[in-house]
């Protein structure tokens, strides 16, 4: 064991105060410095922070961006998601493989570059997209790919690679990303002009209970997907027993097809910070965490800077905006590539330095969350809504949108449309109107709410985007008539199989069984009863899984079965002499060879 390794590990651990709850920060940093967290490193970490080796390894082995084996100095991650596959993934992949002389999952012999794939990195509006370490490159052409390899080979660091800078804050020095906002429609809530601090000032002039009452009066519901009433969640957290409380912002945005939080974090981070501070005031928390997905690491320096500016303005810190006794600050917690960590209890596990396993409920995070203290987890967009509600009034907010779904919703629209990007629209808008806005009138199908949502066809485009009809965290993936929808379903099932945390059997095994049967059907080996099987098994997986991942993972199959039954019926064949998966000639092959004679019963 080299002394150097010991020193590095020691320094990194000490940087967190040898806090095992900061395991994510420790292993992330070591991964960055060393290219991997080796067995030796894991032993050293365990000793240094006073935990068991297995605790360290369970973290390192869980997250896609961490590894035991050493990776190249630069890791190129190609977004391999359905939208990228539609817009040139295969082409880009081949170009990289050729230019680097390696296959996916391999590292160049000089240890310079590792080539991998990763699910949606939140750039679906500008696919094909890739990550080069923390840097993002979008709408990549074959020439662009070759150029990246050439520059890396010439010794350029990823952050120095040539890129055309995006619009808005993307081109500010702290972001300097080749990412476009594609902010196509600004609404009255999130992307309206902002006067920093006004909302917070109004909030602290009221009592915490009055703040919560305002959020309730506005009838705000969570924007992260589940739509839980925010005021109620805060009330629970406020009234729960606990010597400390926490506010956590869910900026994991892992649902494929969703990228609206990316644009909020780029253009309205001040609004988010203000919303979090208001939450802290309302529930009685002094600390906030922003759980930022690893794919958005490029935004981190900018967000840290924005936090610092907020501290300078005393919107964070001690006696916030002069309110005696109200202290609140925010820390950014980086993720490391795990979709399930968007689930709030898995997210809390991850913040605690554990593998991203969801926790049993009850107790709910509002009772026992981060480190066992009452915690309110909310989506980025939710916090932003709160800030506006406090600034402009609950009455103003509740007049926007529809009765059961107040306010605006940010939609991330991608796929076969002319104007992909982020749209802020009032709730109550129909799918048809949305498609007209985005230039997708010819759509054959829309996946609403990402893989965990539902696939709908043109006969349902009159449906309304709101919590009571088409509920969605905001992702709309649009497919034109030339797309093979069952391929989409197949991809989504692969995604869930890959991202399942593996804790409970229905999700770990059930999704594989579903996918296998789907594959048989796609290969012409299906019979009509297979469709019943898919439906029954899918419903069992939903009913018996432990967290929201498994509870929604069969949706791609179930919703396409329901809304596009014709696609399946065209593939399955009734009354076949054998089960379609049984191949008598294959089953007899070995024996025929051994016996040296043909079959008596089954001529070839």
């Amino acid at each position: 064991m080299s002394e150097n390794l010991e020193t590095v590990v020691k320094t990194v651990c000490e940087g967190t105060g040898n806090d095992k709850n900061r395991m994510m920060d420790i292993v992330r940093e070591l991964q960055e410095i060393l290219g991997g967290v080796s067995d030796d490193a894991m032993d050293l970490i365990a000793t240094q922070v006073g935990t068991h080796r297995v605790e360290v390894e369970s973290v390192v082995s869980f997250y896609a961006f961490l590894s035991k084996n050493q990776k190249g100095k630069t890791v190129i991650r190609l977004c391999d998601d359905i939208i990228d596959r539609m817009f040139g993934f295969e082409r880009i992949k081949q170009t990289f493989c050729d230019a680097l002389g390696i296959e996916l999952g391999e590292t160049t012999p000089d240890n310079l570059i590792t080539l991998e794939t990763t699910p949606c990195i939140g750039m679906c509006d500008q696919a094909p997209a890739i990550m080069v370490n923390d840097e993002i490159f979008t709408e990549l052409s074959r020439d662009g790919a070759v150029e990246i390899v050439e520059q890396l080979r010439a010794g350029l660091a990823p952050e120095r690679l040539r890129r055309r800078l995006g619009d808005g804050n993307n081109s500010s020095p702290l972001v300097s990303a080749g990412v476009s906002n594609n902010l196509r429609k600004r609404g009255e809530v999130i992307f309206a002009p902002l006067e920093c601090g006004r909302a917070l000032k109004k909030a602290i002039a009221m009592s915490p209970n009055e703040v919560i009452r305002d959020v309730k009066t506005a009838r705000l519901r969570g924007r992260g997907g589940a739509g839980f009433p925010t005021g109620m969640k805060w009330d629970f957290t406020r009234s729960a027993n606990g010597e400390r409380k926490y506010v956590v912002c869910n900026a994991d945005e892992g649902e494929p097809g969703t990228f609206k939080d990316r644009v909020v974090l780029t253009e309205r981070p001040e609004l988010l910070i203000e919303g979090m501070a208001i939450a802290g005031y309302a529930i009685g928390a002094q600390e906030g965490l922003i759980y930022l997905r690893a794919e958005y690491a490029y935004l981190r320096p900018f967000l840290e800077d924005t936090l610092q500016k907020a501290r300078n303005m005393n919107m964070l810190g001690v006696d916030v905006l002069g309110k005696p006794g109200f202290n609140f600050d925010i820390r950014i917690q980086m993720g490391a590539g795990a979709y399930v960590c968007g689930e709030e209890t898995a997210l809390i596990s991850s913040c605690e330095g554990l593998r991203g396993d969801p926790k049993n409920r009850p107790p709910f995070p509002a009772q026992k969350g981060y480190l066992g203290y009452p915690t309110s987890v909310n989506n980025v967009e939710t916090f932003c809504c709160v800030a506006r509600i406090l600034d402009q009034g609950a009455g103003w907010f509740s007049q926007i949108g529809s009765k059961g779904s107040t306010g605006t919703k940010l939609l991330s629209i991608s796929g076969d449309i002319r104007r992909p990007g982020v749209y802020e629209v009032p709730f109550g808008i129909s799918m048809k109107e949305v498609l007209e806005l985005a230039g997708g009138e010819g759509a054959a199908a829309v996946q609403v709410g990402g893989p965990s949502g539902q696939l709908i066809g043109p006969d349902m485009f009159d449906r309304i985007i709101c919590y009571d009809d088409l509920a969605t965290g905001g992702a709309l993936m649009v497919f034109g008539p030339h797309r093979d929808l069952l391929k989409v379903v197949e991809y989504f099932m692969d995604f869930f199989i890959e991202e399942s945390c593996g804790y409970c059997t229905p999700c770990r095994v059930g999704n594989v069984l579903l996918k296998n049967r789907l594959d048989e059907i796609l290969h012409g080996k299906g019979e009509p009863l297979d469709l019943t099987y898919l439906e029954e098994l899918g419903n069992s997986v939903k009913a018996t899984s432990r967290c929201g991942l498994g509870q929604t993972s069969p949706n791609p199959i179930l919703s396409s079965l329901k809304n596009f039954p014709g696609l399946y019926h065209a593939l399955v064949k009734a009354n076949q002499p054998f089960q379609p998966t049984f191949d008598i000639q294959k089953a007899l092959g070995e024996a025929k060879e051994i016996a040296g004679r043909p079959s008596m019963h089954f001529a070839e």
Partner: protein, 189 residues
Amino acid sequence: MTKEQNRIMAKPKVATTSLAGCFGCHMSILDIDERILQLIELIEFDKSPINDIKEFTGECLVGIVEGGCANEENVRVLQDFRKHCKILISLGDCAINGGLPAMRNTIPLKECLDEAYLNGPSVYNPSGQIPNDPEIPLLLDKVYPCHEVVKMDYHLPGCPPSADTIWQTLVALLTDAPLELPYELIKYD
């Protein structure tokens, strides 16, 4: 088939067969004891080892299959059952899972044959030949449970399923009554 049709028409027919099984499941059928007289009131046996009818004489209501498919003849017979029987039942663990014979599934076929006829410690085979008469059905690469070969309608687990289970099932099917299997009949320890 409704009760009414049942009464009007000739007695429904039941066929049974043992594929790659040990005949234990058939023994269990016989274990219904004197109730077999009641059964004969309700049905007529078609192709079955019980009456030694070798070929189907017509369409059957129920086909009961013991054992999985280990060779091509098993497959042929099973297909024949599917063709002639309205309702097919996998009877016992061998039919449902492959059972004991499926223990060979992890061993390549050639190795199995060599062990059985050449290398096994108790083998006496001076000619060193593996039987290969054209009459001997070819083995499948592995033992398949019935439902992987043809569609099966019901599965009755147990090794063997008890006579009472079989009785209850048949009576329910034949009288079009709901099947009642008390806990004692479906607990397997």
